[in-house]
Homo-oligomer: 182 residues x 2
């Protein structure tokens, strides 16, 4: 079923940065013509759905330079090279929020934007949350910790303050849990 | 609430392509230090949740060069400059699947990966579907049309054939509708 494959004729690496790399591939299309594909390489990332015993979702507010404004998102972070996504999820939850968890389970994974990037994001559900440590943020990371009720989350979506794929997915996941419990 | 703002000191534009542009911004952090941010500019995109009267989701299979394999996704496409997202959604549905719809409504929008990109994706729900036209694909676009039942969708997720943010969101949306109908 790979009749649609696009074979690489030539790859030009335009940029290799701290986080992403950019390549432009010249490809042979299924019909024999050629085209170019712009490809952003990314190390992958994890995100954590964490709902406290008080039925609040743990979220972080941070400035997102590509958008030039703040967003409120579920805790997340990039994978270190060779890092197990589960370990990364626990680490990021602790570093960004100060919470630890007794259990963590995989919910889903998805490519965030497969048309131009290979970024794969893994989403986990953390259970048995305990607030017991200080934040350990990266040198260039500044976040504001929030604990948000289900009603507040809906309002924040309307206000476009919660406005990214993983967090919108997480809120729909929460809605699904609540609907199934009814 | 913009104490976390990162002011641009200098922008270097590394690449301006067919679809994306890449900038590296030197920024002043809230603590006065400087850092760099790698930013991919993208025109934005739309995607369409389309479920037929036979309770099948309309999907398209296509080769995704960044991943070097096929994915099965909900119909989607990039916004043309200045294009209304609703019009783009109708256009892409028609071009990629040959279906038209009587009604289309906004479901959600999200930034796919706000850490490095400004790509904003709008998801619509198409209703009153009619199969009545031929496909009109771009010159470098090759897709395989599928109509997939709810059970098949679950299996395709397990097999990592459905594996991108908008489609995973769409399947969860479908699950939510089905749960609410019960």
């Amino acid at each position: 079923m790979n009749t649609y494959e696009e074979k690489t004729i030539k790859r030009e690496t335009i940029f290799e940065g701290k986080i992403i790399s950019l390549h432009v591939d010249e490809v042979k299309l299924p019909n024999g013509n050629t085209s170019t594909r712009e490809i952003v390489e990314h190390p992958g990332a994890v995100a954590v759905i964490a709902i406290t015993d008080e039925d609040k979702m743990i979220m972080v507010e941070q400035f997102r330079k590509p958008l030039e404004h703040l967003l409120i998102e579920i805790p997340a972070g990039k994978l270190e090279k060779g890092e197990d996504p589960i370990e990364c999820a626990k680490r990021e939850l602790g570093e960004e929020t100060g919470y630890t968890c007794e259990q963590i389970e995989h919910v889903t994974s998805f490519y965030t934007s497969p048309g131009f990037s290979d970024e794969l994001l893994h989403i986990f559900l953390a259970k048995g949350l305990k607030k017991n440590s200080h934040l350990h943020l990266d040198d260039d990371e500044f976040v504001n910790l929030l604990e948000v009720s289900y009603e507040e989350v809906q309002q924040l979506i309307k206000e476009q303050k919660i406005y990214d794929a993983k967090s919108i997915y997480a809120v729909q996941y929460w809605q699904l849990i609540k609907t199934m419990e009814r």
